[in-house]
């Protein structure tokens, strides 16, 4: 039930982000979630979008990569994130990075990039954690 994340390689230069986002907007694609990993020379723009393949095509195949990530629905109460991370810990799953988003339709959710997607999914579902699936996006 993993969802597709699109990572886009951008040079660490003024205007690169707005250019990429504009391209996506003009193609009529909705951005559901976004985060940026930054370094000295470059940034990696990570996106959950309404149409991953189309976004990849308009941004240019050569600067994009798709990765499976897990999006977990969060109840709006204290400790909800702790519960999820505890599940990962017990299953010895390493979180590479994560980012949170909220939306009117989906509520609050956290995207996790983990080292073992298949196991992560399995253990979360066993614990009754609600995941966001492709159709939700």
């Amino acid at each position: 039930m993993a969802i597709k994340q699109l990572s886009v390689f951008l040079e660490n230069k003024q205007g690169q982000l707005s250019e990429a986002v504009k391209t996506i907007a003009e193609a009529g694609i909705d951005i559901r979630a976004l985060s940026i990993g930054e370094s000295r020379d470059f940034g990696i723009l990570r996106l959950i979008v309404s149409d991953t393949n189309k976004a990849k095509a308009v941004l240019g195949d050569t600067i994009c990569k798709t990765t499976d990530v897990i999006a977990v629905k969060m109840d709006d109460n204290a400790g909800a994130l702790c519960e999820v991370l505890k599940v990962f810990d017990e299953a010895k799953i390493n979180v590479e990075y994560s980012y949170a988003f909220t939306s009117k339709d989906l509520g609050a959710y956290v995207v996790f990039r983990v080292d073992d997607v298949a196991t992560a999914e399995k253990v979360l579902l066993e614990k009754g954690v609600k995941l966001i699936v492709k159709d939700d996006i």
Binding site: F9, E11, G37, D41, I44, T62, I63, K65, R113
Partner: protein, 435 residues
């Protein structure tokens, strides 16, 4: 044994080649002394008369010509014939100063094209081949030289010139090109573009490529051979001596046979000007033995290489030169260390990167800085910053080992470094701005 365009001369015994050189040099020295005032003055200054030059060994008595002489004598100072006898000029890009303008009589064009024809036949070319020439046409010698050679061999010649890669690929596929001639960086680019369009190396009909006009490494040869599914051959020449075809590779791919019946080669110590024995590394010097309009004698090419007369399995008897190991004017001195762009290219190819890079040299706080921008291959793309940073670190380590100084390596987006369709702009040296 191989294929020859002019077997009687390409495989002539050594003594016969020397006899041809002796005869041609005596004639040439008279021609130059009588018709080229600039060189006559240089000879007079040195106290050398045409009568002093009897055999090819006497050539070391003659004065050198350098790029500076060409600048001084621009445009007509080294012309050896009346302009009415000239039929063409070619010219350099002028990136290192004033342009060189070279003149040709019909005889000069014919001998140049014959040299290119020898190169095409050496890679297996016959009148049944389709030869796609994607060197630039015009003032640059690449297009006209190989075009003429291809005609002489009788290939179906595709005078594509450089650029418009989609069209290159369309003609290559539709007309079944079997031989391609261009710069090695453009060959690599065409290879990438073919792969992007979903073609496999075996989908094209190409069998051989003739690549020159810029430095390239053995690693780059392997990568082009793989991406195009061909054998890749080197060709050498410079506008000053006529153009490509001064020397070319045979099927051995172990160096380029110099067309010694037209061009006499020496290796000298670049500091002292002394002629070095066979097998020693030094600056390559050429004497045009029978060119009429632009008859340069002892022209210093600035290319550093080695000559060998070791017997070649192809049957050719002409001396072989190694791929130039660098140019004395290509060499960068960074923090006192000599750095050749070819070393950087070697590291990139060894580490699995594309040979698309740009070197930026600058000076900050009185210290030279070296930055190398390198294109990430699409399959190297990662969603993790740490992965890409680790790749940069690894590259910096490998560069430090090869160069002796540590550069900063920056990975940039695939295809973001501008491809030149003639010569690649590999080096940006900003230090001059501060001087």
């Amino acid at each position: 044994m191989g294929n020859y365009y002019q077997p009687e001369i390409e495989t002539a015994p050594r003594e016969q080649i020397i006899a041809i050189q002796n005869e041609k040099l005596q004639k040439q020295i008279k021609h130059v002394y009588e018709n080229v005032e600039y060189y006559r003055n240089l000879m007079d200054e040195k106290g050398v008369k045409p009568e002093d030059i009897k055999t090819i060994d006497d050539i070391k008595k003659l004065p050198f010509l350098t790029k500076a002489d060409l600048r001084d004598a621009y445009p007509y100072g080294l012309l050896g014939t009346d302009l009415k006898d000239c039929v063409r000029i070619q010219s350099t890009s002028g990136t290192t100063g004033k342009r060189v303008v070279a003149f040709y009589t019909q005889h000069d064009i014919d001998l140049w094209e014959e040299c290119c024809a020898r190169a095409i036949v050496a890679v297996g070319g016959t009148n049944e081949d389709v030869c796609q020439v994607c060197y630039g046409y015009g003032l640059f010698t690449g297009g006209p030289g190989l075009n003429g050679g291809s005609h002489k061999v009788g290939c179906l010649t595709l005078p594509m010139s450089s650029g418009n890669t989609d069209r290159q690929i369309q003609f290559m596929m539709d007309l079944g090109s079997t031989i391609i001639c261009c710069t090695p960086s453009y060959a690599a680019f065409i290879g990438e573009s073919l792969a992007e369009k979903g073609y496999k190396p075996e989908d094209n009909k190409l069998k051989a490529g003739i690549f020159g006009a810029e430095p390239w490494t053995e690693e780059m040869r392997q990568s082009i051979q793989k991406s195009l599914g061909i054998k890749a051959y080197d060709i050498y020449g410079l506008t000053e001596t006529s153009g490509p075809g001064v020397s070319f590779e045979c099927e051995e791919q172990t160096g380029m046979h110099i067309n010694e019946d037209h061009f006499y080669a020496e290796i000298i110590d670049p500091d002292t000007g002394e002629v070095l024995p066979e097998g020693e590394k030094g600056e390559l010097v050429f004497t045009a033995l029978d060119k009429e309009a632009f008859p340069l004698l002892r022209y210093r090419t600035r290319d550093i290489c080695v000559l060998t007369r070791k017997k070649c399995s192809c049957g050719r008897t002409h001396v072989k030169m190694s791929k130039p190991m660098g140019r004395s004017d290509d060499m960068l001195i960074i923090r006192g260390v000599n750095v050749f762009p070819s070393q950087i290219e070697t590291v990139l190819l060894n580490e699995g990167y594309t040979p698309n890079y740009q070197i930026i040299v600058d000076r900050k706080n009185n210290t030279d800085t070296l930055d190398i921008n390198i294109e990430l291959a699409p399959e190297q793309m990662s969603d993790k910053v740490s992965d890409i940073e680790a790749m940069e670190k690894a590259l910096e380590g490998a560069m430090r080992t090869m160069l002796g100084i540590g550069p900063k390596c920056h990975l940039v987006a695939p295809k973001s470094i501008v491809r030149s369709e003639g010569k690649a702009v590999r080096v940006i040296d900003n230090r001059k701005l501060h001087d």
